[in-house]
């Protein structure tokens, strides 16, 4: 057994090399940059080592705005999109006619291009000198006041961003949940019916626990995905997100590297490490909570 050990390592070499060079090394490098003050990637020089980058980033109002935006986005979109996906999947599983058609319709957003659809959203919500836009027409038709969703108040912009993010992530979640629901043995429902179990109780006591591993998977990946949102915001509000006040953490990192105010890899690294710490913390909390509530067969 021991003699054969080198063989095992030999087989692992391609994967280890690949992951080492393109994943582990960059990760460590980002970690190192985040402690090097004023690192310059062209000259490969820096002034000193310390926590200065973190201090700077955490005091940068643009970063704080981005942090706030990201948190609001995460807190709103993850529960709503998961809940909505569950509701739609349960609905889809309980109808018979046109089931395939509806499944296709709900899956369509997944195969469309994020940026193109973002543009469509912008046009729907936009209010210009010439037109109020589709959504505002509807609001006015119901007797409301037209709102500029793209350049207007913060809550309106946040609403559009959340709405769009939910719309984008929904298809995948529905896909996963409908297949999870389909894998539940129908005999459980028959047994519950014989015992006169109410619909709500069947849902909470049987359906949800049975698909809980998939739900949990969606919640974790949902959190991680929402923390990394960037392109959605760009699609709606354009590249200058700081000016629109709608930047996200990943957007801030990008700006620090390549934006108009860019050229600061140290700050970008520090922000990336902060994001990593946040995501790690949230995921750990998720895992702890799941231990109690997720049932694995």
């Amino acid at each position: 057994m021991k003699n054969n050990n080198w063989k095992g390592w030999l087989y692992l070499i391609p994967a280890i090399l690949f992951l080492g060079i393109f994943m582990v090394y960059p990760l460590i490098d980002v970690f190192v940059y985040s402690f090097e003050e004023g690192y310059n990637s062209a000259s490969q020089t820096f002034f000193g080592v310390g926590l200065y980058n973190y201090r700077y980033v955490l005091r940068d109002p643009y970063f704080l705005q981005a942090l706030k935006n990201t948190f609001i986005l995460v807190i709103i979109t993850v529960p709503i999109s998961t809940g909505l996906a569950l509701l739609i999947s349960v609905g889809l599983s309980s109808i018979k006619p046109l089931k395939e058609l509806f499944q296709t319709i709900y899956f369509l957003p997944y195969v469309t291009n994020t940026l193109a659809v973002g543009l469509v959203f912008m046009i729907l919500f936009n209010k210009t000198a010439y037109t109020d836009g589709m959504i505002n027409l509807v609001i006015k038709w119901f007797g409301g006041q037209a709102v500029d969703f793209i350049h207007g108040p913060y809550w309106a912009k946040m609403f559009v961003l959340c709405f769009y993010t939910i719309w984008v992530v929904l298809p995948f979640k529905i896909l996963i949940l409908t297949s999870a629901l389909a894998s539940v043995n129908p005999q459980f429902y028959s047994a519950a019916r014989v015992d006169g179990t109410s619909k709500g109780r069947i849902f909470w006591k049987i359906t949800v626990p049975m698909i809980s591993p998939m739900l949990f998977y969606l919640i974790i990946t949902g959190f991680i995905g929402a923390f990394k949102v960037y392109s959605d915001a760009v699609a709606i509000f354009g590249t200058d997100l700081n000016q629109a006040g709608m930047n996200t953490i990943v957007g801030f990192i990008y700006d620090m590297l390549y934006g108009d105010s860019g050229g600061y890899p140290s700050y970008a690294s520090a922000a990336a490490i902060i994001l990593f710490a946040v995501v790690l913390t949230i995921t750990c909390i998720n895992l702890l909570v799941s231990k109690k509530h997720v049932y694995y067969e």
Binding site: N185, Q187, A191, A192, V194, G196, T197, M210, E297
Partner: protein
């Protein structure tokens, strides 16, 4: 609870779009089930027995016909108002709940005046667990138990609401042979103790015969015969019932009745009366053969299987419909294995005649 099924019919729309005809799963099924008995609903796979059970349970709505419990029409009642308990083929225990939670589940559904306190629920759960002897497994999850234990939990869950009718869908089919014997005794004992009217579905005739007070034989959605297991075995109404019951199965021959003589092939085996001349199917139970040197039925000996208590003689006959003829004789009789021919006399009570056209039973008298 006396259960009465009146003219019950269930049609399923055809899944194949080109076939317009509905599939008839249960066809004008009328049956009276006396109170407190254990009934075995028996038939080959796909004969509609599970559909019949589901209609009694309320999971399926009959296309025609009514169902009465103690004379009360419950056809339109949902399952929970019928007072039935059901045990499913794969038990359908909720895998994420412990045994105790599984058994308690039906009680927690009770609302209004039927609602039980925590203490009452616990007592009921423990009583049901005690009945099926699983008190020490209450904290386990279904996946941590054997098939037999899961089966008991499923029965406890069905009984915890003290139903009037207990329904079991193929309760033993997922168990191995040894456990099956044990569990069927267990079902019998539980039924005796609770005195609950129990209907169980099975395709295994031995299972049904061994524990039922009454068996109901079905084929293609049609009820063929009901009665006490021994009665049905001894006195089947048609060829199907005769062939379906009994292991080893009945031996069938094509024969004919001519001038009061029953002929199997070239052998004049019996003198009978009361049957007009015709072509017939002759069914002879394995225990209906008597080894006799000058017996009228002459067969080609294939082999002799000695099984301790009795001996099984495997032979062949030109007029046999079944591939081989298996006759069971006492092991005290010696079979001359050097002789390629073996001759039998037949016991009239174990010899059954069926019409060639309708396959219905033809009764006869022996002179």
């Amino acid at each position: 609870m006396e259960v009465f099924l009146q003219d019950l019919t269930k049609k399923f729309p055809s899944r194949n779009r080109r076939v317009r005809e509905d599939k008839i799963a249960v066809n004008h099924f009328t049956l009276k089930i006396p109170n407190g008995k254990l009934i075995g609903l028996l038939g080959p796979s796909g004969c509609g027995k599970s559909t019949a059970l589901n209609m009694i349970c309320g999971l399926e709505k009959p296309t025609e016909g009514r169902i009465f419990f103690n004379g009360e029409d419950i056809t339109d009642l949902p399952p929970e108002h019928r007072g039935v308990g059901m045990v499913f083929q794969n038990y359908a225990l909720y895998p994420h709940l412990t045994v105790e939670e599984n058994i308690r589940f039906p009680l927690e559904n009770l609302k209004g005046k039927d609602r039980l306190s925590k203490q009452e629920m616990h007592e009921r759960v423990m009583a049901a667990a005690k009945l099926v002897q699983i008190e020490e497994l209450m904290e386990r999850k279904p996946s941590q138990m054997s098939g037999g234990q899961q089966q008991r939990v499923a029965i406890a869950r069905a009984l915890v609401k003290t139903p009037n009718v207990l329904l079991l869908d193929e309760p033993l089919s997922n168990l191995d042979a040894r456990l099956r014997l044990q569990t069927r005794e267990e079902i019998r004992r539980i039924q005796r103790e609770t005195q609950v009217t129990t209907i169980f579905v099975t395709h295994d005739q031995e299972e049904a015969m061994s524990i039922s007070d009454m068996i109901v034989v079905m084929k293609d959605g049609v009820l063929h015969q009901t009665g006490r297991p021994q009665e049905v075995y001894d006195d089947p109404v048609n060829l199907f019932v005769a062939q379906f019951l009994g292991t080893p199965p009945i031996n069938t021959f094509s024969g004919s009745v001519r001038n009061g003589h029953l002929w199997i092939g070239e052998d004049d085996v019996m003198i009978i009366s009361g049957v007009p001349d015709q072509e017939v199917h002759v069914g002879i139970r394995p225990e209906g053969f008597i080894l006799q040197e000058d017996g009228p039925l002459c067969c080609d000996l294939i082999r002799v299987e000695v099984m301790g208590r009795d001996t099984s003689v495997v032979s062949n006959h030109p007029a046999a419909v079944s591939l081989t003829i298996r006759s069971i004789i006492s092991s005290e009789t010696q079979v001359d294995t050097t002789n390629p021919k073996v001759r039998f006399a037949l016991k009239p009570a174990k010899t059954l005649l069926f019409s060639k056209e309708t396959e219905e039973r033809i009764r006869f008298e022996v002179k």
